[in-house]
Symmetry: C2
Subunit: 423 residues, 2 copies
Amino acid sequence: MICNRMDIQQYMSDLGARARAASRHMARADSGAKNRALAAIAAALRSHRSAVLDANRQDMELATKNGLDSALLDRLELTPARFDGMVEGLEQVIALPDPIGAITDMSYRPSGIQVGKMRVPLGVIGIIYESRPNVTIDAASLCLKSGNAAILRGGSEAINSNQAIAECLRVGLREAGLPEDAVQVIETTDRAAVGELITHPEYVDVIVPRGGKGLIERISNEARVPVIKHLDGNCHVFIDVDADHEKAIAIAINAKTHRYGTCNTMETLLVHEGVAAQLLPTLADQYRSAGVELRGCEKSRALVADMTPASEDDWRDEYLAPILAIKVVTDVDEAMDHISQYSSGHTESIVTENWTRARRFLAEVDSSSVIVNASTRFADGFEYGLGAEIGISTDRIHARGPVGLEGLTSQKWIVFGDGHVRS
Amino acid sequence: MICNRMDIQQYMSDLGARARAASRHMARADSGAKNRALAAIAAALRSHRSAVLDANRQDMELATKNGLDSALLDRLELTPARFDGMVEGLEQVIALPDPIGAITDMSYRPSGIQVGKMRVPLGVIGIIYESRPNVTIDAASLCLKSGNAAILRGGSEAINSNQAIAECLRVGLREAGLPEDAVQVIETTDRAAVGELITHPEYVDVIVPRGGKGLIERISNEARVPVIKHLDGNCHVFIDVDADHEKAIAIAINAKTHRYGTCNTMETLLVHEGVAAQLLPTLADQYRSAGVELRGCEKSRALVADMTPASEDDWRDEYLAPILAIKVVTDVDEAMDHISQYSSGHTESIVTENWTRARRFLAEVDSSSVIVNASTRFADGFEYGLGAEIGISTDRIHARGPVGLEGLTSQKWIVFGDGHVRS
């Protein structure tokens, strides 16, 4: 039992040193060994199925007693179907190509040396997340496949589930002859452990926080280790004057109503004034029958009855709810200016048949995903073919948008010579 | 004249907001416009040549009066030859391919959407550097070519030189029709300006500090903005038992004696015990006639007379001086263990004709450059074909090793559809 600050520091530095040692071993592990470990973890999960589900039931009971809200309870629950999905996810990661060791761009230089790049793991990845215990396996499998060691810190409400899953991770790693310390799940729910995790670059190379904005801002502010993070998803669809009307309606409806709580859901719809009168009434009917509350600018309110006026906050807010802000704009420039001012840089889509405006939108909109004639809901690691994602980055350096295996790697330079010296 | 903390905050936030606005313009500038601006800056430098050299003389006089040491005075001096080199550097950057807008990896997904990546600028780059005024032009030209805006903060000792160069930057940008604010050189020498520069992610996307380790550690600790940094260059050469002796001697001598003060200079030589008796006496003679002081492990001291014993510190130190630590090791594993324990992760080289050990060294050594049969001195942006470098990164994320134009960019995702929605 860890009971004071000194103990936490000692516990975390032991854990960090073991992760660092394991990361060296993992960096050398070949694809076969890594895939065998993932398969052994899947097998261990299957054979420990009832223990894991029992542990999750304990967490659910405690959480219910502690009055956790229903959305969080839903995320915490490991239903049999979710459990199976978690194991299938592992098998999908086995099927992904191993990025490590890939050598690219080898070319001869005038000096005679041959220079290129080799893809390498980042080292030790710290992942901080809330509620959903299946993230433990998602994160572990991506870190292992990309040759990294991982330190996972789940939410205190999921501690029993996560420890039961951690046991399966250890069994699988041991059976495959890889170090058990390659994935460690922090055993204490003390928040001081997070403080230690994010301030020791000697043990941890990058932190991936997943959770509410408050958690992520706190971690970014306190971290002394690089952070790959996702803040807001205030996404836009712009319907241009040259939009195909059928596509525009399909995309605008899908981007909002497919799911309300996801970060790639549209939160503001921008409509060119040349098509607003034709499209907005139809769109408003469809949104309202889906139960979406509409908040509009003055011009849009002139076209749709009973729409709440949109305030400045509505342009900024990520609703994560069945609410949509609507603004009528004069042209693609006003649309892009609005996006530049209010977007969180996550995902924006233009609906147009006009070649030049599509090209301008693609080039000039500065978001991690820029889409032409498709729903913002496609901005997702699975849809992009990454196989899985550790998260979606709204940062500008290292990785933007969905982060899969490649985002957990870097490239070192390699040089081949034949006794070459510099003159 | 900026005279208090409030003024500095106001000055820096104005400057930051202007940089942010200019970065939007720069991101859209095509290669032609960027190259015309670089050419116009080169022309402005040529026509303001005497003004810049006069300003540098002022800095030199003041620095001499202030008792700056000779190494710093040498770095501060803008000789006519250095001035010409600076202008030529600009022309080399014009000749580099423009990385921005490059679309790669477009592929169709099962949903029917087409997904790929487009290379984009990082946004606003803050660069903090000391002494050498030519860094002002190097950094500005790389930032401009890569579609970024830049805020440059040179050393207080170079303020007159840097302001004279800044005037040429403004003239060139104006003539090419690009915003003058695309490169701003901070006009105050107040250290509070650095504090502001590194703590406002709303204005600055990444900081590149160039200078002594103290400066870089301080900036990394205080920054609230991602930092691309270079710490130590404790580089190693390992001479394997199967090394070609002639190549081994050439590389080991070149890696140490070609230049002493550079970060890719070898600081510790590791020699396999099977060849130490044959090679070390010859090497020691050559080092000593070049004026290099040798500090060795016990085994190496048995082979070379009058060698100072190496302490633990010698394995860690980046001498940046004519001093070399030497250690005899039993095999490639001991060599790699030593590197893993003491290297700063900058550059390591193996000399061997053995295929398997060369492959192992390449795969297992975790440094930003790993070299087979060539001198560590090749770890350099120009030698690697980057054309120029903004610095060398010893970080693990985003960019490792020499950072050129590509390191000042990122990739966003782009999606092409034809009315696609997610089901």
